[in-house]
C-alpha cells in the first residue's frame, strides 16, 4: 500500500532529472559535426568558450537544446493541467483551441505580415497574442455567471478550433509560395529557426506556470472525482479552473510562439508518466515538466540526425513517434485501468 510521500516524490523526480540530463547530453552530441562526450564536457567546462568545439556546443547546440527542453516542459505541463481541469486523460492544449488561436496569430503575420512591413520576428508575439485572445474568448464565453463549466469550455474549444483551422486554410491559400512554405513548417512545429533571446521568456512562463499550479496539485486530485465533490472537500473550484486555464494557456502560448505547433508532447508524456508514477498531480505536474523536456530534446536530436545532411521538423518526429506510442499507451491504459 504505497502512499505518495515527499521522499518518494523527490526520488522519482531525481530519476527523471537524470533522464533529462542524459537527454540533454544526447541533444548536445547530436549534429553533423561528430563530437565526442569528452569534447562536449570539455566545451561545457571551458569558461572562456574558445575553440571550434566550444563554438558548436555553447553557441549552436546548447541554446537550441535548452529552448527545446523549455518548450517540451511547457507543452507537457499544459497537457497534464488541461487533462486535470477537463477530467479527461485524452485532453491536451489543442482540444481547447488554445494552440489553434496561437497558430492563427502566428500565421496571420506569416501570410499577411510582409504587406504591412512585419517580418518573421513578429511571428512569436503574434502567436502569443493569439493564444491570449483565445483564452480571453474561452473565458468570457464559458465562464458565464462567474462559474467556469468544463463542458462549455470543451464545446467552445472545439468550435474555436474549427474556426481557427478554416481561417488558417484560407490564409495559407492566399499566401505566396515562400510564405506558404513557412506556414507549412510552422504548422508542423520546428526548433530550427528559434531565436535564443526568447529562452528567458519561455523559462519565465514555465516557472510562473509551475509556481501557480503546483500548489493546486492536491486540489486537482480532488477534482478527479468531480468538481462538486472537490468543492465539498474545501476546494475553490472556480478559482482553480481560472488559475489552471490562464497558467496553462500562457505556457502553451510561450511554447507555440517560439516553435510552432508541436503535437503529441502534451498528450503522451502525462499519459506515460501516469502509467508509471500514478495519477497524483503533486508528482505528475513536475514530473511532466522533466519528462516533456527530455522527450522533446531527444526528438529534436533525431530530427537533426535521422536524415543525413537534412533536418526534419521536430513536430514530424513527435507525431511519427507519438502516434503509435500513444495508441500503445492507450491500449495499456485500458488493460491496466479498465481490465
Amino acid at each position: 500500500m504505497k502512499i505518495l510521500t515527499p521522499i518518494r516524490a523527490l526520488m522519482s523526480l531525481a530519476v527523471l532529472g537524470a533522464v533529462l540530463i542524459g537527454a540533454l547530453m544526447v541533444g548536445l552530441a547530436s549534429g553533423p559535426s561528430g563530437l565526442s562526450a569528452r569534447e562536449i564536457l570539455g566545451a561545457l567546462a571551458d569558461r572562456d568558450g574558445i575553440g571550434p568545439a566550444a563554438d558548436i556546443v555553447l553557441r549552436v547546440r546548447l541554446p537550441r537544446v535548452l529552448l527545446g527542453a523549455l518548450v517540451g516542459a511547457c507543452l507537457a505541463v499544459s497537457g497534464v493541467l488541461f487533462q486535470a481541469m477537463l477530467r479527461n486523460p485524452l485532453a491536451d492544449p489543442y482540444v481547447l483551441g488554445v494552440s489553434g488561436g496561437a497558430a492563427l496569430g502566428g500565421i496571420l503575420v506569416l501570410s499577411l505580415g510582409s504587406a504591412v512591413g512585419l517580418g518573421y520576428e513578429a511571428v512569436p508575439p503574434a502567436a502569443f497574442a493569439g493564444c491570449l485572445i483565445t483564452t480571453a474568448i474561452l473565458y468570457a464565453i464559458a465562464g458565464v455567471n462567474a462559474r467556469v463549466s468544463t463542458t462549455s469550455l470543451l464545446l467552445t474549444g472545439v468550435v474555436f478550433n474549427a474556426f481557427a483551422s478554416a481561417a488558417i486554410v484560407f490564409l495559407a491559400s492566399i499566401a505566396g509560395l515562400t510564405e506558404g512554405a513557412s506556414i507549412f513548417l510552422w504548422l508542423i512545429g520546428s526548433l530550427s529557426s528559434i531565436r535564443v533571446e526568447v529562452s528567458g521568456w519561455v523559462a519565465a512562463f514555465l516557472v510562473l506556470g509551475l509556481g501557480a499550479t503546483i500548489p493546486l496539485a492536491r486540489s486537482l486530485n480532488l477534482s478527479a472525482l468531480g468538481g462538486e465533490s472537490a468543492e465539498q472537500l474545501g476546494v475553490d473550484i472556480d478559482r482553480q479552473r481560472r488559475v489552471v486555464l490562464i497558467a496553462s494557456s500562457l505556457m502553451v502560448g510561450a511554447a507555440v510562439s517560439v516553435a510552432g505547433l508541436i503535437g503529441f508532447v502534451g498528450l503522451i508524456i502525462p499519459h506515460l508518466l501516469r502509467l508509471i508514477l500514478g495519477p497524483d498531480h503533486r508528482l505528475l505536474i513536475p514530473a511532466s515538466a522533466l519528462g516533456g523536456a527530455a522527450f522533446l530534446v531527444v526528438c529534436d536530436a533525431l530530427a537533426r540526425t535521422v536524415l543525413d545532411g537534412r533536418e526534419l521538423p521536430v513536430g514530424a518526429i513527435t507525431a511519427l513517434a507519438g502516434g503509435p506510442l500513444f495508441l500503445w499507451l492507450l491500449r495499456r491504459y485500458h488493460q491496466r485501468v479498465l481490465a
Partner: protein, 265 residues
C-alpha cells in the same frame, strides 16, 4: 437562532419559473440520525447540496450549531460537514486508499502530504467499512456498490461533525445496507449527526431517530419514523396506497399496495 447541529430555516430555491424548494425548515439535532424521504425530484438532493454550499438558496439560511454556513471558509465547512454522493464520476485511476485519503484534504496544508496518522486513520476506516481488501485497486475497476463504500470511507476519514448521505445504500446488497446504516448510527454517537436521503423507508425508519417527508418542495411531516410513516402521509408524499405494520423491534414497516388513482392519472 438555533443550536441544532444542522438547521435549515425557511429555505426556498427557484430555477427560472420552477420552484424546487418552498420554505423548507428542518433541524438535525446533535447526536441524531435524520432520514429524508420523498418522491424523485422532491428536492432531497438539492437540500443536501444547499447544506454543503455548492448551491445557494433563493431565500432562507442554513446554519451549523447556530453559525450560518456562509461564515465558514470552504475548508472549515469541509471539516464540519462531509457528503457521500449517490455516485461520482471518476476520470483517473486513483487507488482506493488514495481516494479514501482525499478525505483528509481539509485538514492538510498546501501540497498536503498525508502523515502516518492520516494513513492509519484511513486504514482503520477502510477496515470498518469493509474495503481494506481492495485498498490498492483502481477505483475505476470497482462496481457501483464498492465505489459507494469507498465514498463512505472517504467521508468518515474526513472526520466531520455532520455526515450528509445521498442514497448511500442505493447500489448495495442487503448485508451492506444494514452494515452502512449501522456505521451511520455509530457515527451519530458522541454528539455527531447525520442526514440520510433514502428511498428505503423501512430501513430508514429502523436506522433513524427522526424522519422528514418532502413533497412538492415542502416538508410534509417531520417526527419519529412511527409518527411520520402513516398511510395518509405515504399517499400524500408518494401517491401510493400502503400498509404500515410494526416490525418485531417496533419500527414501522412500509408495505406498498398500489398507486392511487390520482397518481396513476
Amino acid at each position: 437562532m438555533t443550536g441544532a447541529a444542522l438547521c435549515f430555516e425557511d429555505i426556498s430555491l427557484q430555477f427560472g419559473d420552477r420552484e424546487i424548494l418552498r420554505g423548507v425548515g428542518l433541524e438535525v439535532p446533535e447526536g441524531a440520525v435524520v432520514a429524508l424521504a420523498g418522491r424523485n425530484g422532491a428536492g432531497k438532493t438539492t437540500l443536501l447540496r444547499i447544506a454543503s454550499r455548492v448551491l445557494r438558496p433563493s431565500a432562507g439560511r442554513v446554519s451549523i450549531r447556530g453559525v450560518p454556513i456562509d461564515e465558514f471558509s470552504r475548508r472549515d465547512l469541509a471539516k464540519q460537514l462531509a457528503v457521500v454522493p449517490q455516485d461520482t464520476p471518476v476520470s483517473f485511476p486513483f487507488r482506493v486508499i488514495e481516494v479514501v485519503l482525499m478525505g483528509r484534504s481539509p485538514h492538510l496544508g498546501v501540497l498536503g502530504f498525508e502523515s502516518r496518522a492520516d494513513v492509519a486513520l484511513a486504514r482503520d476506516v477502510m477496515a470498518r467499512v469493509g474495503i481494506e481488501a481492495f485498498a490498492d485497486r483502481s477505483i475505476l475497476e470497482l462496481s457501483g456498490g464498492e465505489r459507494q463504500l469507498v465514498l463512505i470511507a472517504r467521508a468518515l476519514t474526513q472526520e466531520p461533525r455532520i455526515l450528509l448521505l445521498d442514497e448511500p445504500t442505493a447500489h448495495l446488497d442487503l448485508a451492506h445496507r444494514v452494515a452502512v446504516l449501522d456505521l451511520v448510527r455509530d457515527f451519530a454517537r458522541n454528539g455527531r449527526s447525520a442526514l440520510v436521503v433514502s428511498h428505503d423507508l423501512s430501513l430508514s425508519a429502523r436506522a433513524s431517530d427522526r424522519l422528514a417527508l418532502l413533497a412538492e418542495g415542502r416538508v410534509l411531516d417531520c417526527g419519529t419514523p412511527a409518527e411520520v410513516l402513516t398511510p395518509e402521509n405515504l399517499t400524500a408524499a408518494f401517491g401510493i396506497r400502503a400498509d404500515v405494520i410494526p416490525a418485531p423491534d417496533g419500527s414501522p414497516l412500509v408495505v406498498p399496495r398500489s398507486a392511487t388513482s390520482e397518481r396513476m392519472s
